[in-house]
């Protein structure tokens, strides 16, 4: 299942410092994987490596928010929904409120449509069921190229 709201939502968000340096080359994209499950982190990290991408991985939403607060920028954030300390919904809201305009892709276990919609409304660009597969990553990177 893919939920997406397209690129138009990014027009209302201010650019993060350094965003103008992004190039539409897959190998130059910076990625943040936010998930409390070490198996998922390892899996997604390997999937991204196959596309020539090296990801930073963190265990919860608060760490992701703190990273961005202190100046880190990412082209793509893969955000788990259920996490301790700060979940994906809250983290996504905070990142968007900070002006982060990364492509944020939610990754969830099969949830109710209502819960997934709430996650989308927090500011996601897309939401996929976990774990991500090569096809889904390929789709995400195509969207990332379009965005850039």
């Amino acid at each position: 299942m893919v939920l997406g709201k397209g690129a138009s939502s990014s027009l209302s968000r201010k650019m993060v410092d350094g965003a103008e340096d992004m190039v539409s080359n897959c190998n130059d994209f910076t990625v943040l994987v936010v998930d409390d499950d070490p198996v998922i982190r390892k899996l997604h990290d390997m999937h991204l490596k196959k596309f020539g991408l090296s990801a930073q991985v963190v265990e919860n939403g608060k760490t992701a928010v703190d990273l961005c607060h202190f100046g880190a920028t990412f082209n793509l954030i893969l955000m788990d929904k259920e996490m301790p300390i700060m979940d994906g919904v809250e983290a996504t809201k905070e990142l968007r409120a900070m002006g982060v305009n990364s492509l944020i892709v939610g990754v969830t276990s099969r949830d109710s449509q209502y819960e997934t919609q709430a996650f989308m409304e927090a500011g996601l660009d897309f939401c996929f069921e976990k774990p991500l597969t090569a096809d889904k990553i390929s789709f995400i990177l195509q969207e990332l190229n379009k965005k850039n």
Binding site: D36, D37, P38, V39, I40, K42, L43, M46, H47, K50, E82, S109, K130, P131, T133, A134
Partner: protein, 151 residues
């Protein structure tokens, strides 16, 4: 077709894990990520799963000892465990997780207890089978052909 008898045995063992419903296509996704640079990726992920999920199993056991059951907490823990189990393609384990969560939603404590016992059995059975599989894979050595990957 593998000429090496041990690799043939490995292929048969692997196929039986799918045919008997222990694994699903997500396991194939793991295999497709394995390559010469990461030759033990599948075993590493499975080892990580069993190491990390032991903690969740313990939390579930402790939560099931407290009466009355906190079904929300139980459901939350199982949601986490199910996600992890899905990521390695643990099909039967995942099915038991789903059943457990249904019992949580209907407030059926006895059902939860039964489902958890069955889940632990499936979890342990899969662990034994995968350990045997990886041990044989190590003995068999690298594949002559990419038998574990989709062509």
């Amino acid at each position: 077709m593998e000429r090496n008898p041990m690799r043939r045995q490995l292929a048969i063992m692997r196929q039986s894990l799918f045919d008997q419903g222990y694994l699903d296509e997500q396991f194939i996704q793991l295999e497709e990520l394995q390559d010469d640079a990461n030759p033990n990726f599948v075993e590493e992920v499975v080892t990580l799963y069993y190491r990390d999920s032991a903690r969740i199993i313990l939390n579930l056991e402790q939560a099931l000892e407290r009466k009355p059951f906190d079904f929300n907490k139980l459901d939350g823990l199982m949601h986490q465990f199910k996600g992890s189990s899905s990521s390695i393609g643990a099909k039967k384990v995942k099915a038991e997780c789903t059943l457990f969560r249904e019992y949580c939603k209907s407030g059926n404590g006895e059902g939860c207890t039964r489902a958890f016992q069955q889940l632990k059995r499936e979890y342990a059975t899969l662990k034994r089978k995968l350990e045997a599989y990886f041990q044989l894979a190590r003995q068999a050595g690298p594949a002559e052909t990419a038998c574990c990957r989709k062509e």
